[in-house]
Amino acid sequence: MNPYQVLGVSENATDAEIKNAYRELAKKYHPDNYAQNPLADLAEQKMKEINEAYDMICDMRKGSNTSSSANNANTAYGANYTHTSYPDVRRLIREGRLDDALQILNGVSGNSRSAEWYFLMGMIFSRKGWSEQAYTYFQTACRMDPTNQEFISALNNMNARRNYNPSGYNTVTPAGCSVCDVCTGLMCANCCCECFGGNGCC
């Protein structure tokens, strides 16, 4: 493996360039981006590669200022829960057997459906690509048990991806006064002031 190739930089790149490239890639393949997604394992593998490449370059250039990556072997989401009423369902989801998992959960009668039941339903639907349905399940799970970190992080994660637009622009502005409106307003006011003899000092 050529670590420079993995990070997409030339061998003559400066330490800062390498660090930047590493950060960009680490952001791209961060496990948060792939939570509740069938591609989570692949992304984790990619992240590992990037971490290794960065560490390798740092070792080769030792003595210079680059610091080693945190090498945070991020564990997959939902792997470190402490207590569960549905160990089988979780195992099935991990193995990708979503229909079997769904069948077990559907067998649970209406009044004994716990917060975890809704959370696991959310996980299944999210993996299936039924994101809107999954979102309502996660919301219900968090409403029923607002203290559970696992549920909260799943919901937050989903919120982040729903609110962010890949182009980086947040496109639709709420009705009323946006930041842009304020700016234009100020600019207009400034022009008026100049017109009326003020020295543009308003």
Binding site: S131, P166, Y169, V172
Partner: protein, 284 residues
């Protein structure tokens, strides 16, 4: 499909745009070659994107050469040097999707639209027959989409996820065709990518048709869910679209692309977002 998968020219390098245009022109030429000159009119940006993605995975690229456009002989165009199978595949996708769209219009349209579609049907059928024979998998994927779409539209309480499933599934199947069968992990990447891209396309179209469907009582999963004016729910609609776009981009990041990455970046990151904004803003 609907022509939503376009580039954002303002965010693009000149050379990338040239290459994109050359692929667009090559696909047009390929359509003419495979299905006759009239089929060139169904050329779409969606299928061009499919051609770009397919070409991006090939080991070799023969480069471009100059030629003349058949419709405007004064214009010089660039074309791909070799007629690759990627273009044939994209051309087949074009005619097969166009055929099912026509059938769909015949089922839903008003009188004059129906009449026009009926007149075109023999022509489209002949192209479709030829393409379906050569590319059975595409035919199967599109046929299944059209069938389950029809079934789902009978459901008065159809959810957003359910309504978008047929289109998502179709694109998922078609995208995974681009990867060799034995490469399981890349197949998963491509099918996930196709799923969310298909879902995004379907939901964008639903958002686009919202007001019409509300007025004329057409099938639309957003109308089923929100029931009243679109402007009240623009943020919720945007969030559901953002999610699909993010998932598609995340999947794309795991693809092993050999070239044209800047073009695909542009389409996925800028082109689609721009289209999404246009759709949401127009109706505000």
């Amino acid at each position: 499909m609907f022509g939503y998968i376009t580039v954002d020219k303002s965010e693009m390098l000149g050379k990338d745009f040239e290459a994109y245009k050359a692929i667009y022109c090559s696909l047009c030429k390929q359509l003419g070659k495979d299905y006759g000159v009239l089929s060139r009119f169904i050329l779409s940006y969606d299928c061009t994107f499919f051609a770009v993605l397919s070409l991006a995975l090939k080991d070799d690229c023969a480069g471009f050469c100059q030629g003349r456009c058949k419709f405007n002989p004064l214009k010089k165009c660039n074309y791909l040097k070799n007629d690759t199978e990627s273009l044939s595949l994209a051309a087949a996708l074009s005619v097969i999707t166009a055929y099912y769209k026509l059938r769909d219009n015949i089922a839903d349209g008003v009188f004059f639209e129906k009449l026009l579609c009926y007149m075109l049907l023999p022509l489209f059928s002949s192209w479709h027959k030829k393409a379906a024979k050569k590319y059975e998998k595409i035919e199967k994927a599109v046929f299944e989409m059209s069938k389950s779409q029809f079934d789902f539209e009978a459901d008065e309480n159809c959810s957003i996820d359910k309504a978008s499933e047929p289109t998502a599934k179709m694109l998922s199947d078609i995208m995974s065709m681009l990867v060799p069968y034995d490469d399981a992990s890349q197949r998963l990447v491509f099918s996930t990518f196709g799923y969310y891209l298909g879902k995004w396309i379907y939901l964008c179209d639903a958002a686009n048709d919202y007001d019409d469907d509300l007025k004329h009582n057409g099938f639309n999963p957003y109308v089923i869910l929100y029931k009243d004016e679109k402007s009240q729910h623009i943020f919720d609609i945007e969030k559901s679209l953002n999610y699909c776009l993010n998932e598609a981009v995340n999947s794309y990041n795991l693809m092993e692309i050999k070239r044209f990455d800047r073009i695909i970046d542009n389409i996925l990151i800028h082109g689609l977002s721009k289209k999404q904004t246009e759709i949401l803003r127009n109706k505000e």
